[in-house]
């Protein structure tokens, strides 16, 4: 099974029920690496085939693949 790193946004109306949303996501197999209740975001890993179910969960505003960022090396002229 392919695991996908995801960034999940909890919608505005459900911000006060953040913990519930985390629990529901975990039931779908999400392995949580970051809980950010202040901004309403959950970061974790989940099986690819569970993505559709995750998106449909009540209180979830969006699910995106997690991205990475890279700087040029320190000796570069342009950073």
């Amino acid at each position: 099974m392919n695991r996908q790193s995801v960034t999940i946004a909890v919608n505005n109306q459900h911000l006060t029920r953040f913990d519930e949303i985390v629990a529901a996501s975990e039931k779908l197999g999400l392995q949580v690496s970051q809980r950010l209740p202040g901004i309403g975001v959950i970061i974790g890993e989940i099986d690819e085939n569970q993505l559709a179910a995750l998106r449909k969960l009540e209180g979830i505003a969006g699910v995106e693949p997690a991205h990475s960022f890279n700087l040029p090396p320190p000796q570069s002229d342009i950073q």
Partner: protein, 461 residues
């Protein structure tokens, strides 16, 4: 500031309405005033500005010391002061905290009425006349044609000549800039003329961390947190130290020139990139959460990932940015360095491409768009909002090197962040979106297209 207002025409006194006067040739009264008052002319009255919350005591002072009895807008329905009261008497506009009085300031001060930033009355100005603006000249067909021709030729020439683009190896240009006292970036943004230091303002820089032992930062208030597992917030790259230097560096560094802006800001170091400069959404978002929780007025992020033409912005970053604004935190992010102008303009990187984030482009020493600076070529978000100095920017670096000069929208971004801290200090009530508005409104508009320069070059208050 627009605290003065038109004095009603004398004719209105007779029948209580605002009549439009007749033209001198006796024609109907639908035309404009034929002799508008000289815009620099004063009415002979004075505007008095009261400190917020100081209105009642200020009025009491005026009444006791200067014997002024005032007509108050608050006594009228919906605060609609009558034209008669406005014209004849000493009046008070309660909601905006301004009075219009018939007594000159010299008389006021001789009666012991103090005007100072900490007294009830903080300013007195002459009341001026205002008038409609002159109509713009009608554009003839010929003028339109010639203007179009001119624009076309200019575009052609700009496309052929390499002027307006900078190359990092072009050392000839560098010798014309005097950086003995201040970096060129601080000169261009008028930081040296500003009385503000970011005192009391928390600035979060989410990057590769910071070299906490750097001698230029002894005694500064620094709070740090690493969001990269297994690493402390110590900077092992240099980039983070450079950005913190530009945004928050000292007024008197160990070695001139001065390179830092908000010299008394409280620095919040969020290490969200490892020492090779890599990071993930997770660490960056965790850094944003931490900065908001700690009431940072500004979050500076000199990082991003290239996007393709047509790629929309991340709805999640956009939502997070909106929540940050609502909580009083303004996020400024580098627009990205993927371009190679003039031939190749790449779109603004993520997450700078979010509408609720201020995307910062880079200028070179001649205030032209730097060749690498991305442009707002993606529709629906993806705009460059403002630009800052981003070419050969000197700032702090890891010990023992101490200082380094590099280029990038990464360098332009902390200029904006540092100046945002100055505006935040100067305007305690403005945070989040309204703080961003101050930056945009006070930027120096440039000739470069808004696609590349946004509102223009950031300027210090």
């Amino acid at each position: 500031m627009m605290t003065s207002h038109k004095r009603p025409n004398k004719a209105s006194k007779q029948n209580g309405t605002m009549n439009t006067p007749r033209n001198t040739n006796g024609a109907d009264n639908s035309g404009p005033l034929t002799t508008p008052p000289d815009p620099s002319a004063t009415t002979g009255r004075y505007l008095v500005l009261f400190r917020e919350g100081g209105l009642e005591r200020g009025l009491q002072t005026l009444s006791e010391r200067a014997g002024l009895s005032m007509v108050r807008a608050a006594d009228f329905d919906a605060n609609a002061l009558s034209a008669e009261a406005l014209e004849s008497g000493n009046v008070v506009l309660d909601t905006i905290g301004v009075a219009i009085v018939n007594l000159p300031p010299e008389q006021l001060s001789s009666m012991g009425v103090m005007v100072a930033s900490d007294s009830e009355i903080i300013a007195i100005e002459e009341e001026h006349y205002l008038s409609i603006l002159d109509a713009a000249p009608v554009d003839t067909a010929l003028t339109t044609y010639l203007r179009g021709y001119q624009a076309g030729v200019a575009q052609l020439v700009n496309g052929l000549l390499p002027t307006g683009t900078s190359t990092i190896t072009d050392s000839v240009k560098d010798t014309s800039v005097d950086e003995s006292v201040l970096t060129w970036g601080l000169q261009a943004t008028k930081v040296d003329a500003s009385q503000y230091t970011g005192k009391g303002i928390r600035v979060a820089v989410l990057d590769t961390g910071f070299d906490f032992g750097h001698p230029d930062f002894v005694g500064r208030s620094i709070t740090s947190q690493s969001f990269v597992s297994g690493l402390t917030a110590d900077d092992g790259h240099g980039h983070g130290t450079h950005c913190i230097g530009t945004s928050c560096g000292p007024k008197r560094p160990g070695q001139l020139p001065r390179y830092g802006i908000a010299s008394e800001a409280e620095i919040y170091v969020g290490k969200v990139l490892d020492n090779s400069g890599s990071g993930t959404d997770g660490s960056i978002l965790a850094g944003i959460e931490w900065a908001i929780k700690n009431q940072c007025a500004v979050v500076s992020m000199s990082l991003g990932a290239p996007v393709q033409v047509g790629t929309p912005f991340s709805p999640i970053y956009e939502e997070v940015a909106k929540r940050a604004l609502a909580a009083g935190t303004l996020i400024v992010v580098a627009a990205g360095n993927d371009s190679n102008r003039p031939a190749d303009i790449k779109p603004v990187s993520r997450p700078a491409n979010c509408p609720s984030i201020l995307a910062v482009g880079a200028l070179d020493v001649d205030l032209n768009i730097a060749f690498f600076s991305n442009g707002g070529i993606n529709p629906n978000g993806g705009q460059v909002d403002i630009v800052g100095p981003g070419y050969k920017v000197r700032s702090s670096w890891l010990r023992p090197t101490l200082y380094n000069t590099i280029s990038g929208t990464s360098m332009a971004t902390p200029h904006v962040a540092g100046i945002a801290a100055l505006f935040a200090e100067a305007n305690p009530a403005m945070r989040g979106g309204s703080l961003g508005w101050l930056l945009l409104q006070n930027a120096q508009r440039l000739m470069a297209p808004a696609r590349d320069a946004g509102a223009g070059l950031v300027q210090a208050p």
